[in-house]
């Protein structure tokens, strides 16, 4: 999605205002003159200044329109691939702890490779090899505790 500089400037300024309001609600620190709200307040205020500057500059240049959709939004395959990337990542995060790193990741790679136009005959072996190599490198060599999930009983 393409947002005009007018709109993004306004959004930045609005976000800055929200931050300043939230930061002003922070309590003072006992025994200290400077509370936790000062730094976010300054940053938020500067965000308002720069956002408004962006808006004014865009107005002066007579920027047309507020926002426009990208070309790819009109293409079904592109829409699907973007959705698959996001959904597959969310699913991986949700499933990896109960199900385990190895099965979840094999599935993840296969689904994504298919969505991006890869062949299943190539995706399946690659998925298995990549998953096992990653698992060996991180879990065994680097001692990162990747979850075993349903494979807990055969953990090596």
């Amino acid at each position: 999605m393409q947002v005009s500089d007018k709109l993004s400037g306004l959004l930045a300024a609005a976000f800055g205002i929200v931050v300043v309001l939230a930061a002003r609600a922070f309590p003072a620190t006992p025994g200290q003159e400077i509370g936790p709200g000062l730094f976010p307040s300054i940053t938020g205020a500067l965000l308002v200044v720069f956002g408004v500057g962006l808006f004014v500059g865009a107005r002066r240049k007579r920027e047309a329109g507020w926002w426009a959709l990208d070309d790819w939004v009109g293409r079904r395959d592109a829409r699907r691939s973007v959705a698959v990337v996001v959904v597959a990542l969310v699913a991986w995060i949700a499933l990896v702890t109960p199900v385990g790193f190895i099965p979840t990741t094999i599935l993840f790679v296969i689904v994504l490779a298919r969505a991006m136009g890869g062949r299943i005959t190539a995706a399946l072996p690659i998925a298995v090899v990549v998953t096992l190599v990653t698992h060996y490198a991180f879990s065994t060599l680097l001692r990162v505790p990747l979850p075993w999930g349903i494979l807990q009983g055969v953990a090596w």
């Binding site: 200290q32 936790p36 790819w72 991006m116």
Partner: protein, 497 residues
């Protein structure tokens, strides 16, 4: 000193020691090349191994791992736009642009050669001037660090191409992300929304991987003719060709990067990350062709690549002389030094000269080893580009996810990676550069910490920021850089009359 060097050389001529160094170099390259695994983590993993080693091999292994890991972070940055370590994020886009243009060998060759040069330069400074520089580093209190961070942030404006206002909005976003969490001077949990994982703030590595690599995957998902598209070249030419010419073309940049990196690295509150950003900003500021920056121009890589490796050596200066960690890596190293009876302190050069000079020689050796081993890594890494893109993208994502997880062993950080992948993708689509956000996140906590503690010490008097000599100089320099465009404009207006 010559006598000590001879003694050190005999210590070094041990085949077992050389074997340890080569093994450590390979380990460092492996860890550094994986995004999300930092040089700090590589060194921490080595600690239990060093329990069973003699002092010199133990320290040599750590020295070698750090030097090689920082370089290796450049490789996935250049080839896939996934910076392996925060220190390579400064010039990641520049190197990736070169790869896109089909000049990956230039990007990687420059990176390996000037990393080695910078590292060797820093080591020589360490050997010659460590005690004096350590003394100077002790002059830095929160006032001086405040101005140093301001200088670093100023670089964001130079680094960012396009509309400077968009760069500033992006920088403010980074500073705000940095203010999330409990670890602020007032120890008050800010913007945590009751999520315990956010108490420690938003982690840099998942944000960095998300904004650079995941946004790249998303962009790929939207391109036309995907399966056949090869945005990157498939081959890498001779890596070292043309490097001699570059060294003659940019001697000032290489030297400046080396000096800057060593000095910033020697400050206990700053490290290789900041050094790389400032060096890149300075390279652009003083370049004859600043317009070429961001389009695949090696000048910035020369300077920043030299700076981040020399900063590693610089960080050892306060560590050896005062036992003060220059960065998270030397914090671990100091522990090992004590463990091995090489207690850091001003007397270490008198009590253990042979071992210390042997450590310095290992530094030099590790930086020289970078050339052949770096060459091997680049040759091996180019195979990555042969994998069809449809298969490569999921593999990249797997590495991103595991790397984000490994920082804290928390799935939450994988979610952070995804969120910032989408944010980075939208920002870039609309002309907001992401580098300032990363810089803001790197420096935000340091900026607030030094600002607030300075204000507490000064009792709220802003003039205190100019009272100490070093801070007055740094402050004046920062303000001059900010106002120089205005002054130049005033000068131009005044002249025609």
């Amino acid at each position: 000193m010559v006598g000590h060097l001879v003694e050190a050389l005999t210590l070094l001529a041990d085949p077992a020691l050389i074997a340890v160094i080569v093994m450590a170099a390979l380990f460092g390259l492996f860890v550094g090349a994986i995004p999300g695994l930092t040089a700090t983590m590589a060194v921490a993993l080595l600690v239990p191994v060093t329990f069973f080693m003699a002092p010199l091999p133990a320290v040599a292994a750590m020295v070698t791992v750090t030097a090689t890991a920082i370089f290796a972070g450049d490789v996935p940055g250049a080839l896939l736009r996934m910076p392996g370590t925060p220190a390579s994020a400064a010039y990641c886009d520049e190197a990736f642009e070169l790869t896109r243009r089909g000049e990956a060998e230039v990007a990687l060759g420059t990176s390996v050669v000037f990393s080695a040069i910078g590292g060797a330069f820093g080591t020589i400074v360490l050997m010659v001037a460590a005690p004096a520089l350590a003394e100077a580093a002790l002059l830095f209190s929160s006032f001086e660090y405040f101005w140093l961070v301001m200088l670093g942030l100023t670089c964001a404006v130079f680094v960012a191409p396009g509309n400077p206002l968009k760069g500033l909005v992006s920088l403010m976003l980074g500073l705000l992300i940095a203010s999330v969490g409990f670890e602020n001077p007032a120890a008050y949990p800010r913007f945590t929304f009751g999520v315990p994982e956010l108490m420690s703030g938003v982690q840099l590595i998942p944000v960095m991987i998300g904004m650079f690599a995941v946004s790249e995957v998303l962009r790929f998902a939207t391109t036309v003719d995907r399966p056949l598209e090869t945005a990157v070249q498939q081959k890498i030419g001779p890596i070292f060709r043309g490097q001699w010419r570059l060294a003659r073309q940019y001697p000032v940049q290489a030297a400046r990067g080396g000096v800057l990196g060593t000095l910033i690295g020697a400050l206990p509150g700053a490290g290789a990350d900041i050094a790389a950003w400032i060096a890149y900003g300075i390279a652009k500021r003083f370049s004859r062709t600043p317009g070429k920056f961001g389009t695949g121009h090696v000048e910035g890589i020369v300077e920043a690549g030299a700076a981040n490796n020399s900063a590693l050596a610089g960080a050892w200066i306060p560590a050896l002389v005062f036992g003060i960690p220059g960065d998270s890596i030397t914090a671990i190293v100091i522990g090992v030094l004590y463990l091995k009876g090489l207690n850091p302190g001003p007397t270490i050069f008198i009590e253990n000269p042979g071992s210390i000079y042997a450590v310095f020689l290992v530094f030099l050796l590790a930086n020289l080893l970078l050339l052949p081993l770096g060459w091997l890594l680049i040759k091996a890494a180019r195979n990555v580009l042969r994998v069809p893109r449809a298969l490569l993208m999921p593999i990249i994502l797997v590495f991103c996810m595991v790397g984000s997880f490994a920082i804290n062993n928390a799935m939450f950080d994988v979610g952070v990676m995804l969120a910032f992948g989408v944010i980075g993708w939208l920002m870039e689509r609309n002309g907001f550069p992401i580098a300032p956000t990363i810089l803001g996140l790197v420096l935000g906590a340091m900026l607030e910490q030094n600002f607030v503690t300075s204000m507490i010490k000064a009792g709220g008097n802003p003039l205190a920021f100019f009272e100490r000599p070093v801070s007055a100089v740094l402050g004046a320099a920062t303000i001059l850089i900010w106002t120089s465009p205005l002054l130049r404009m005033a000068w131009r207006r005044a002249r025609p009359s």
